[in-house]
């Protein structure tokens, strides 16, 4: 029984002739404790997928189901880590996490809450920065705070919307390891959107590509049976890793080429015009009546 599934979901903006179909007949099934990576091009509707999974928007057709039942409004059982971190800038690290914890666990005593918050701050290696405000922190630290906030809600499913796109390459690799480590601690179900094939192969159990928009849908899935823990340094010499990575990359480039071909804006047939003469100085007398 998949914990989370897309059941023939369609979603679009606008009405009538202005309608822009973002997703059409998308089907996806996520098993429990699985790490799924969704790869897509820019503008293919990746954020829409996360919003649909989280319940922030409702599909036009089909249903998004959790444990077999259609999901309701967004809630702490589906924790979202936004692409822009969505941190409240007037609250400190402690304050941001406390807001989530107070909301999700109203019955906790203050001492328990403090322990809970401190546990998650330590978990994402932000110890010592409890009282910093978001504008005093680097991008990597902000992303860790966003993760800590979402994890502190102890959601059943973790939805990561391109969490590492806005970071530099070195911080990216550090945080990739961090997220993997956190996941391996309790093996929560994770759906991660990314645009980096290497990252997807490194971290995920299964890769699901999203075809380019409009009318995007989920393409051919790739399983990643590599053994964990996966060491970044040695993976580059692992033939299976290279094989999967090349497959996925080629698949993505193919569907992109196909979509480019299909998406020609329309062929204009030009009229057949023949010039009268190709001579340099035409000796033609034209008389106009």
């Amino acid at each position: 029984m998949p914990i989370l599934e897309f059941d023939n979901v369609s979603f679009g903006h606008g009405i009538g002739s202005d309608k822009y179909e973002v997703l059409t007949d998308a089907n996806l099934a996520v098993e429990e404790n699985e790490f799924v990576a969704i790869i897509g091009f820019s503008g293919s509707g990746k954020s829409t997928v996360v919003s649909l999974l989280g319940g922030l928007i409702e599909p036009d057709q089909g249903a998004v189901k959790m444990h077999g039942k259609p999901i309701g409004p967004p809630g702490p059982d589906r924790g979202i880590v936004f692409q822009n971190y969505s941190l409240l800038p007037w609250l400190s690290v402690h304050g941001n996490i406390e807001l989530a914890v107070k909301q999700v666990f109203p019955g906790m005593s203050p001492a328990q809450r403090e322990d809970h918050i401190q546990h998650y701050i330590d978990l994402v290696s932000l110890t010592g920065a409890e009282w910093k405000k978001p504008n005093e922190m680097s991008g990597g630290m902000r992303q860790r705070l966003s993760l800590a906030r979402t994890l502190s809600m102890q959601p059943e499913v973790l939805l990561l919307d391109e969490p590492l796109s806005a970071l530099d390459a070195i911080t990216r690799s550090v945080l990739q390891d961090e997220i993997t480590r956190l996941w391996e601690q309790d093996k929560r179900t994770v759906v991660m959107i990314t645009n980096d094939v290497d990252e997807a192969v490194l971290m995920a159990d299964r890769i699901v590509p999203l075809t380019p928009g409009p009318r995007a849908t989920f393409g051919k899935e790739f399983a990643v049976p590599l053994e964990r823990p996966r060491d970044r340094a040695t993976l580059n010499f692992n033939p299976e890793f290279k094989h999967i990575r090349n497959d996925v990359t080629r698949y993505m480039m193919d569907i992109n080429a196909e979509s480019k071909r299909l998406n020609v804006a329309g062929n204009l047939k030009l009229p057949q015009i023949q010039p009268i003469s190709l001579d340099v100085a035409p000796n033609i007398e034209i008389s106009v009546v």
Binding site: P73, G75, P76, G79, F82, L88, P89, L99, Q103, N135
Partner: protein, 537 residues
Amino acid sequence: MESLKYTLLKIIHVSGLTFLEPVVRLCYGEEPQLQLKKIGRFIVIPSLTFLAFLVAWALIAPVYKTKSGEVPTPAVVWDAAQGVKRFHERESDKQVAYGLSGEERETTLAAVTKQRAVLNTMKADADQQVAEASEARTALVAEEIEPLATAYETKKAEFEQAAKRREAALIVKASQIDQRDIDAKNELLAYIRGHESQTEQERELLKQLKAEQDNVRNLTYTPLQNAMRIQTEIAEQEQYLAKKEEILSKANRSLKLEEEAAKLKELKLQYAATTGPDLMPIAQQMLQIEGRMQKIVDSEYAKPWTLPMQIMRSLACVFAGFFLATAIAIPIGVLCGVSPTFMAAVTPFIALFKPVSPIVWLPISLIIVGGVITDPETHWLMVGLSNLPLIGWLQINPAFIASAITVALCSLWPTLVNTALGVASIDKDHLNVARVLRLNFFQRLTKIVIPSALPLIFAGLRISLGVGWMVLIAAELLSSSEGIGKFVWDMFNNGSSETFAQMFVVVFVVGAIGLLLDRIMIIFQRLVSFDGAPAAI
């Protein structure tokens, strides 16, 4: 030591007094060259500019003479400021003296009498100085006028003779003309015109000479002016001391009480000694005296409103209006930001009423407040407010309330618009967080909407306070509610040169208070801002 430096720097940063920063850094020996350059730019140059402004003012002012004397120079304005301060101190002194009793009263009275004696000798001196200076001036004037007067007389005689000669010549000419000789008549007309214009010119010249003489007569002789100034000061001081002596002797509260108490004692003896119907009038008299004594105990010296007290009252009025405006504008602004329908409904009102000037609101609010509070003496609100411990001395009257309402009506628009904008322009991501956390409407409002909008709200509040302060002075001037505006109006109606200078004092006082209020709001704005954007220079 280092921590002190960083504390100071933090205070400077929060309070917005950034020009002090290079001074602190210089004291700690940090990059002296750079700090000196910054001090030059932020402290020395503005000071020099201000000095240049004062010098320009001092040079330009004496050129203009008005009904109320010359436009005052900075020195005159400074003197007028001292005069205002002195007036306030003396009145406070008299107020204290009224309440003195017993030994204190006696010692103060002795001191005052001694001061008066000293003053009398000074007065004699001053009078003599004035007499001397006056004599010197008359001599000077006479000396200067003499040549002018003689010149005037000679010129006048000359012109009269010339005019007579011209007229005689014209008459001769006229009698020689044949009646039908039109050309000759026209020629004669031209000659007459020439004669008239000549006479006119001569008259103008005489007028100029006369004006010159008048100028000399109005000569300002500085020693005389100084002497007269000293004399006026001494006269003022004498009046003050005389009044104070009176307050300490005849008009003193404790003395008056003693007097009445003595009378009461006598009457009590009488009351004890008589019987029968005679008791009635004696009893009535006793009760009357008791009532009078009660009134005297509660009485205070009738202190006139001085500028410092008027400043306090103005500040109270502006804050009353400001808080009223905030209480109206922020809830409506939040509603506008949250609901676009509400915003669309309210927009016509905002657009229509925002440009209305306070001078238009004031008469309307005066009439309405006057209609609600028909009898200020007995209305429950007025009586209640005048009995409150801290603000009772302000004597809140319907004019005060009308001014406060006018301030509120004019200063609520910036806060309203900024609050609506701040609430409407929340980051969508924050709202998504609220949805994921399942916050209800009230939680969303207090935990996300309002903290996110606070910087803009405080920006609006700061503008509102600035507008309110400007509006208040105008409203007070027109509503005769005691305050800085009333002070200006009184000085205007007074029309002497000293009061003219005091109006200039008010310019600087109002500006300084406005500056202070603005700085306080900047501090609040900095405290709530979270994106590090600068609140003000």
